[in-house]
Amino acid sequence: MLPFAEVQAPEIDYKALSPLMATIGGSIVVLMVALLRSQFVRHTLVPALTGVSLLTAIGLTIWVWEPGEQTPIIEGALTVDTLALGISMLVYVAGLVCVVLSLRALAAREAGHGEYHSMLLGSITGMVILAEASDLITLFVGIELLSIPLYVLCATELRRRTSLEAGLKYLVIGSVGSATLLYGLALIYGATGAMQFDRITDAISSDAVGVGDPLLLTGIGLAATGLAFKASVAPFHQWTPDVYQGAPTPITTFMAVATKAAAFAVFLRLFEHALGLTQLEWGPALAALATATIVVGNVGAIAQRSLKRLLAWSSVAQAGYLLAGVVVGSTLGLQATVFYLAVYLLMNVAAFAVVIARERVSERGDDVSALENLGQTQPWLAWPMTIAMLSLAGFPATAGFIGKFYLIDATVAGDYAWLGIVIVVGSVVSLAYYLRVVAVMWMGRYEVELPTVPRRHVKPVAGWSPEAEARAQSEVAAIAVLFAAATIVFGIWPDPLFDAAREIGTALSGLN
């Protein structure tokens, strides 16, 4: 018989947990409210409540924001520090964007507005837990809570085969990734005898385990592999193009931006905090992965005609750049990675919003040719796309330039100058496809050379629905313009982002 009386309930810091409760609560409320099946509830109230829940979470995040190292709460399960909160901010913003982009999306209507938004909030909760996780169990709980709703969300365009295929593919491959990660975590636990990140560090620094312990290194390798699946790091990226293309585009946008942010939060916390002492062991391995990712992503993107696939491959390449910031294991690297994640959010949201706007009305769907001559017909869409592409390629006066500058700065300072060169070479290759998109928009009448794939003629996504009205895109265009403008503003005046990055950098101590 268990001696119940002796079980001590852990101390719970409700203030630190409040942003999490906002999204969990939102998720439940939205699901319940949607049971009232009136048009007003489904089309207005549910998205509005989701938005309110996310805005509340953003407000609470600002409230609990506290620079410096924080002690883990709930028996060491979660650490609510600036790193976690900063990443959560990105996730919340991505969530808000997804809500706005889904306002008139087919996916939300087919899957049911309540379920769709509730799952979205569920996935966001998972990401936040993942970013805050400071023991192996919470880490795994977070990653599952993040993934399972996303598997479903990918398949929410019920009547489109590729959507279902994307969901299934993501489920299968995601599960393999989760299993690998779990195995790795188990081995790390086996080697160190500790679950909490702090204790893992202690165990490694004690004589008993040692840095070169084979069990520990195997565990690190498997954990890195599992996380690499989530962050679409090569060679574990193969699902990315298919899933990005198949999923409803608002979900793709969310996934591209938020999942990446959450996955890199874990990379940073697990590798630099818990396993920081073994940096000499995993640094070169991750550097090799980063190189492979940059090469594979950029080369893969060249042959793409579908914009969603192109952006998927580009996101693989960008993951490689981000990983370079993790490799060096320094505060500068941490700051550069977080900075680049924020920049990555801005430029990708702008690009995906334009894709959504076009695929809703164009019979070419997400094919590059759907953008043909957009510069003349719809400059309000062409400019954001142009800015996003130039920023992704790293042109100056855009935030992408500063982000890359910061990352290269970190790699050189961390004695990985060659990785900086790899980033640069990757950027040069990436011009081939980013510039093609720009060329199609502005110089499209004079046949731009495109990869030879037969032109697809698909029904516009909005072909069956009221979305087909061209004016139904005002909110999508607004998102595109807003985020493109932010890309330029932060490219010229990046101080606010740097300030945030510096405060986030204080979260993990003990780095170089």
Binding site: G375, Q376, L390, G394, F395, P396, A397, F401, I402, F405, Y406, I408, D409, V412, A413, A417, G420, I421, I423, V424, V425, S427, V428, L431, A432, L435, R436, V438, A439, W442, M443, Y446, E447, V448, E449, P494, D495, F498, A501, R502
Partner: protein, 495 residues
């Protein structure tokens, strides 16, 4: 601490943005007014310039403290005339463009204005990172101008152009960051300020590979053999006013970078590659000259002649000699002043030959167009460095400089002077004399074209008469720029 340079720098961009919100017909005049104002400001700058002082009109503000990037602008003898050249080149090109009908004129003139701001920024920047920002930013408007308003296979050409140049300049970015990080003393703040970088130092081995990255960027831009792969396509497809700017002004940014950044900041690295760069320069002189007189396309004649001319400039810089560097700086101005009217005249000629750019189909135009022929003749003589022209003085200085201790290369390079006469005279004869081509209509230049070209020709003549006007003002800064690299070389000799 003055704001003058910032005004000059952002005036074009401001007029470009203003033009975007004006009615279609007006935007071009807004941009033109901006370029004229910049020119006026630049003339005041020259008049007010103190040849005895160092950096002037310095603007120095924090921009991105986190990365050590400062908003630092300044003018000295090195860039004074480059700024003037930019201002001088943009006015006639904008004027000529303003009188042609374009599709989407607002966008075209916005890009023209943005390009001027970017080029001026690259010339004025006294912070390495700021220089790179403007250096890369230049590509954006040129990418759109070539791709949007060019002829022929223009999308391909512009993509090739951007990839070539950006490949170089991104590698330079990596090199620059490495330079900034590695030169930071322990516990010090990272800085990209050129003056600060000059005080700090990095090891010789590091300098060597960083110089190589910088050279890649600058040589692609110049262009120099064998990094000129983008030249034929780009020169063929670019709109004429844009190519005048590209060939006349942009090509100078690269070589200017050597004098501003590479030699003063990394003298040991520069010294290490001196031999290689001189060989490339001499090769470019011969290769460019030979190709220039075997081309049929008029634009390519000028394109390849530019490769040869830039070879001279690089030779002058890397001779590490006062006279040579003087000549190089002078020649940077002269070449720009020659290429811009040359292309504008080519634009006029091609319009009279029914759009054909082939030398075989041109000819006989001088007959009824004496003004055109005269202007062209003066420009052609300046191109071939006729004694009495400023180009003659420039090339002579370069050759003197290289004779000092690179005698053999100097002798080989002098062959280039002879070859220049061949291609320049060939270009003039084939277009102006000979039998008229099938579609040639011999007409005089329009008033506007004369108004665009004549002032530039007047400047060419004036400089030929009084080269000291430039040389006196550039002397101090040029000598200072190569001083370090030269003393490194002398130390090596003593050892």
């Amino acid at each position: 601490m003055t704001i003058h340079l910032s005004i000059i720098l952002f005036l074009p961009l401001a007029t470009g943005l203003l033009g975007a919100f004006l009615p279609r017909g007006l935007s071009r005049w807004a941009v033109l007014a901006g370029t004229v104002a910049v020119l006026a400001y630049a003339i005041v700058l020259v008049a007010d310039f103190d040849s005895g002082a160092g950096l002037q009109y310095v603007t120095d503000d924090e921009w991105i403290p986190e990365l050590g990037i400062r908003y630092q602008l300044g003018v000295d003898g090195l860039n004074l005339f480059m700024i003037v050249l930019t201002a001088l080149a943009w006015v006639p090109c904008t004027l000529v463009a303003a009188l042609r009908e374009h599709e989407r004129p607002k966008l075209f003139f916005f890009h023209m204005a943005l390009a001027e701001t970017a080029v001026l920024g690259a010339f004025m920047a006294q912070d390495l990172a700021l220089f790179i920002v403007f250096f890369d930013l230049m590509l954006v408007p040129f990418y759109f101008m070539i791709g949007g308003w060019g002829t022929g296979d223009r999308v391909r050409a512009t993509t090739k152009f951007v990839i070539y140049t950006l490949a170089g300049s991104l590698l330079m970015l990596a090199g620059a960051i490495a330079l900034g990080v590695l030169s930071t003393p322990d516990g010090g703040e990272i800085s990209f300020s050129l003056a600060e970088l000059q005080r700090r130092s990095v090891s010789e081995g590091t300098q060597q590979w960083i110089v190589l990255l910088f050279a890649l960027a600058f040589f692609v831009k110049a262009p120099l053999f064998p990094l000129h792969g983008w030249v034929p396509d780009t020169y063929r497809s670019t709109p004429i006013v844009t190519i005048a700017l590209l060939g006349g002004v942009l090509s100078k940014v690269g070589v200017y970078g050597f004098l501003r950044i590479v030699l003063p900041v990394m003298p040991e690295g520069a010294q290490h590659w001196q031999e290689l760069f001189i060989v490339m320069a001499v090769f470019s002189i011969l290769y460019g000259s030979v190709l220039a007189f075997s081309q049929d396309n008029v634009r390519l004649v000028v394109a390849y002649s530019s490769i040869a001319q830039l070879g001279f400039i690089v030779l002058g810089i890397f001779a590490f000699d006062d006279k040579g560097a003087q000549g190089a700086v002078f020649q940077m101005l002269n070449h720009g002043l020659v290429v811009v009217p040359l292309f504008l005249i080519i634009g006029v000629i091609v319009a009279r030959a029914g759009g054909s750019e082939s030398l075989a189909e041109l000819g006989g135009m001088a007959f009824r167009a004496p003004v055109l022929a005269t202007l062209f003749l003066i420009v052609a003589f300046a191109t071939l460095a006729m004694p009495g022209s400023a180009n003659f003085v420039g090339e002579l200085l370069v050759l003197f400089g290289s004779f000092e201790d690179k005698f053999v290369y100097g002798v080989v390079a002098s062959v280039g002077v002879v070859l220049a006469a061949v291609y320049a005279i060939r270009l003039f004869q084939r277009t102006m004399h000979n039998r008229p081509g099938p579609a040639v209509a011999s007409r005089e230049m329009g008033r506007i074209d004369v108004a665009a070209v004549a002032p530039l020709v007047a400047v060419i003549v004036a400089l030929g008469l009084y080269p000291h006007f430039v040389v006196d003002r550039t002397e101090r800064a040029t000598t200072a720029s190569i001083q370090e690299a030269r003393s490194v070389g002398q130390e090596l000799v003593i050892k």
